[in-house]
């Protein structure tokens, strides 16, 4: 029950985010978001530590009294905020983000022409405390050699190794199962399969082999969908400060070129001649770390900008930054066009 002198305070992990025509509240603890009108956003970002609910109403000329009553009660009932007569002990979420990992994520591309030393790449990534490793295999190559190479990571600190294999390699179910058994941190996706399905292979384990009928080409673009958004405290803090897709990411393409992301044009060196540790220290390599969604046209007007992962390259036209591969969401109309994956 609220009293006349009460303040309404959002929980510190419930963050209002404004879009061009629609806003939302990200609940970083529950990992969910609530879509709200922009008018409510404006009300929520007034200084509730200073003003009581009645004072907030008068700040808006008492035009929204009934709406404020109902919305605040709704937010309290759904654990987004609370009433208090003394807001002073409560604090806002500090927005600082740092990571102990010199490399957070990496993608390594291998095809039949790849001549670089894979073992050396894995060892370097491990030494840089890489957490997410994605290995994309194109062409008919000897997968056994790649698997053998992965043994250097058996005691590494890499959390997740995603292995993308083409269906035309025709690896048997038994072979894939053995990879999962031998490498507990590997997730296998077989692309270009006849039919999309998920196959459970181990008893008492949630680990599966994913088969998808979608193709993976060098030109394939990332998919954007509401269902792929990530609402978490770390993702939010990283997105507020950095480009969540490219921050501390380093990728090696099939020729050994070291890039921010495999589909980007700019290469900053080659794994045959350079150490990854040296390349990621270069200011020009790190430049895209700081191009966060708040600075990019369209993204800066999108209410999903702190939960959306994009590795797109960014170009500068005049004073403005633009993503080259953008999503199909239109924040100016609040509509989605169907996403198309090549």
């Amino acid at each position: 029950m609220k009293n006349k002198e009460d303040h309404f305070i959002l929980f510190s992990t419930c963050i209002p985010v404004k879009g061009y025509v629609s806003s939302l509240i990200m609940d970083l603890d529950k990992g969910e978001y609530l879509e709200i009108p922009n008018e409510l956003y404006d009300i929520l970002v007034t200084d509730h530590f200073k003003y009581t609910i009645e004072e907030v109403k008068s700040l808006f000329n008492n035009d929204y009294d009934e709406g404020i009553n109902q919305y605040f009660q709704y937010l309290v009932n759904n654990h987004y905020g609370f009433y208090t007569s003394n807001p002073s002990p409560f604090q806002k979420l500090p927005l600082h983000f740092d990571s102990p990992h010199k490399v957070i994520s990496s993608i390594v591309v291998i095809n039949k022409d790849s001549k670089y030393d894979l073992t050396n790449v894995f060892q370097q990534l491990d030494a840089l405390d890489c957490q997410l490793l994605q290995i994309r295999i194109y062409d008919k190559i000897e997968v056994a050699r790649v698997i053998e190479t992965l043994k250097v990571l058996s005691k590494s600190s890499i959390r997740i190794i995603e292995l993308y294999l083409p269906a035309f390699l025709k690896l048997s179910h038994e072979v894939l199962k053995n990879i999962l058994v031998d490498f507990p941190r590997i997730l296998i996706t077989v692309y270009g399969a006849e039919k999309s399905k998920k196959v459970s292979v181990l008893k008492n384990s949630s680990r599966i082999i994913k088969y998808t009928n979608q193709k993976l080409l060098y030109s394939s673009k990332e998919v954007y969908s509401k269902n792929l958004f990530t609402v978490s405290r770390e993702m939010f803090l990283e997105s507020v400060n950095y480009n969540a897709g490219l921050y501390r990411k380093v990728c090696i393409d099939h020729e050994g070129s070291i890039k921010n992301y495999v589909s980007h044009e700019t290469a900053y060196g080659n794994i045959k001649d350079n150490l990854i540790a040296d390349i990621i220290q270069k200011e020009e390599f790190k430049e895209k770390y700081y191009l966060k969604n708040d600075l990019i046209e369209k993204c800066k007007d999108c209410q999903f900008r702190y939960m959306c992962l994009s590795n797109s390259d960014i170009e500068k036209k005049g004073k403005n930054y633009y993503k080259i591969n953008t999503c199909t969401y239109n924040p100016y109309k609040n509509t989605w066009e169907p996403s198309v994956n090549i």
Binding site: R159, S220, L228, N341
Partner: protein, 65 residues
């Protein structure tokens, strides 16, 4: 009448300086935590994919509606 042999029912601690409860607790605890098995169990836990959780994805290349 032959007296019942209760020797198996009551165990007197070998060292009388240790209170019975403490003796019981330490000896059973010791029995319940075989270190080698524990280590194996942890290895198995490590391998079950429990650590395969991270706050974001690497890239979103595939998505099934």
């Amino acid at each position: 009448m032959k007296a019942k042999n209760n020797s198996t029912q009551v165990k007197i601690p070998e060292n009388e300086a240790i209170p019975f409860d403490l003796y019981y607790i330490t000896s059973t605890k010791k029995k319940e935590i075989p270190r080698e098995d524990f280590k194996l169990e942890m290895d198995r836990y490590y391998g079950k994919g429990m650590i395969m959780d991270f706050y974001k994805d690497n890239s979103n290349m595939f998505y099934e509606e």
